[in-house]
Symmetry: C2
């Protein structure tokens, strides 16, 4: 431990701190990157069919080196004098979405030595969940990418997303960690469009949400105040990447929702009741 090299004897903590030379320690920069997730729907051509739901991620186009022209997660440097990592993340969230009061959780600290070509930068990633309906302003350079494909085969995950103009696809190999049966190291197999290690960060974020969706109430952070159970079920299905059975879903979700008297009509089929989240 570098701190151990200090030999001089001090009699009080104050005395020690006064004499403390913090430059003895090698320092580095930290950033936060945020996986901002939401749910979009793609209009169906058939007037009867409901819109197809997809998860979407907010990305920013880089206009400076390194990785100029590539897409990356919203993020920024930590100001060590003034803010915590979470405050830093909320500052960036505010900048990118103009919203406060957003669900935010620390995801993981990414620290591969060569993850940034400039210098050693350690990044603590966060996941944020928002309901897209709350968004008003469009931030420059930022764009929502809908995840149109997410496939896992032989421990290789392939993700394809698009903002309507551009397509980003990448694949990541999941390597089982030693001494575990359920933890994986992620390794990029293909990634042409995303800067840094943000492909790995995005996958970590999606998996975190997927793992928590069944035993927490996080989905409701992505829902508007009133929603139908069909819509809610679709969000679960998109996150879990599989179909659910209606009766089972309704049984489980009944504890977490309240039926209102409002209805959603004009959909070309039987109208449905609107529900609210019940804590």
């Amino acid at each position: 431990m570098i701190g151990d090299v200090i030999m001089k004897e001090y009699n009080s903590e104050e005395e020690f701190l006064k004499d403390y030379d913090s430059s003895k320690f090698e320092k580095l920069s930290m950033t936060t990157d945020i996986v901002i997730l939401s749910v979009s729907s793609k209009d169906s051509s058939n007037y009867r069919k409901t819109d197809k739901k997809m998860m979407s991620v907010l990305l920013v186009k880089r206009d400076t080196f390194p990785y100029k022209g590539k897409w990356c997660l919203p993020g920024g440097f930590l100001n060590p004098k003034e803010e915590t990592l979470e405050e830093c993340a909320r500052r960036i969230l505010k900048r990118e979405t103009n919203l406060s009061n957003i669900y935010l959780e620390q995801l993981y600290t990414f620290d591969r030595i060569d993850r940034d070509p400039r210098m050693r930068i350690v990044s603590t990633a966060y996941v944020a969940l928002i309901d897209k309906n709350r968004l008003t302003d469009q931030v420059e350079n930022a764009s929502w990418f809908d995840i149109i494909e997410l496939e896992e085969k032989n421990n290789v995950v392939k993700i394809t997303m698009t903002n309507g103009e551009e397509i980003i696809d990448f694949s990541i190999k999941k390597i089982l960690r030693e001494k575990t049966t359920d933890r994986y190291d992620f390794k990029t197999e293909e990634n042409e469009k995303l800067a840094f290690d943000h492909d790995l960060v995005i996958l970590s974020g999606i998996e975190r949400i997927r793992n928590k969706v069944n035993y927490t109430d996080i989905v409701f952070n992505m829902m508007p105040e009133y929603f139908t159970l069909g819509e809610l079920q679709q969000v679960y299905e998109v996150i879990l990447n599989k179909k659910l059975l209606d009766p089972a879903f309704r049984r489980i979700i009944a504890k977490k929702t309240v039926k209102t008297t409002k209805m959603k009509t004009g959909e070309g089929h039987r109208p449905s009741y609107l529900f609210k989240y019940k804590r």
Copy 2:
């Protein structure tokens, strides 16, 4: 974002990197702290009774300021030029236990601004699980503390631990986070003996293991090669902090264990078969 102040136009990434002045960014120091958990047993006075099992944490007595004389988790500064946080953690683990090949997982990044009185230090904490039987050498200044009491009442957790000579006890308040039903901020209520925010780190580590114990195989990292089902059940009980029913436990654990022909005898009661972990 501090990086945005760079105005000069570059035509290639190489050119940019060459000119890049990393001192523009405010830097800070990082450390890793490791919650090394294991299971101890306290000899029973009654020859018939089995030894009582407890979780234990490895702590180090600080011999320099700050917090001179207090106990803290094994940890150390990250060398930003040469190592990742996990490599740093393994280096410290090796130093403190003289073991490699230990179960290690990233826990959380702690970054309260005033968590270290010297300067801004962000610490990424790890949890390590070991089987105490693998330990041979005794490291100076380090000591195992058995958790003799862990009680949660009205969202206040009280933990008491001892190394046989000294008693450390502290209490932490769990405050429900906004927009969640299951996530808490930890706040120290009482803590006289532990340095930094290591009381919070220890509780986070214990809760992480508790949350994972039912859907992963992590316990086996704390077990010797051969063990009885009674011993294994006690370890689960200690981690979950509650009694389990024998038949139910045996049903579930049967999938993860193999019965051997070996037996454990001389215990003052019916001998039991020894089992091994089955992946």
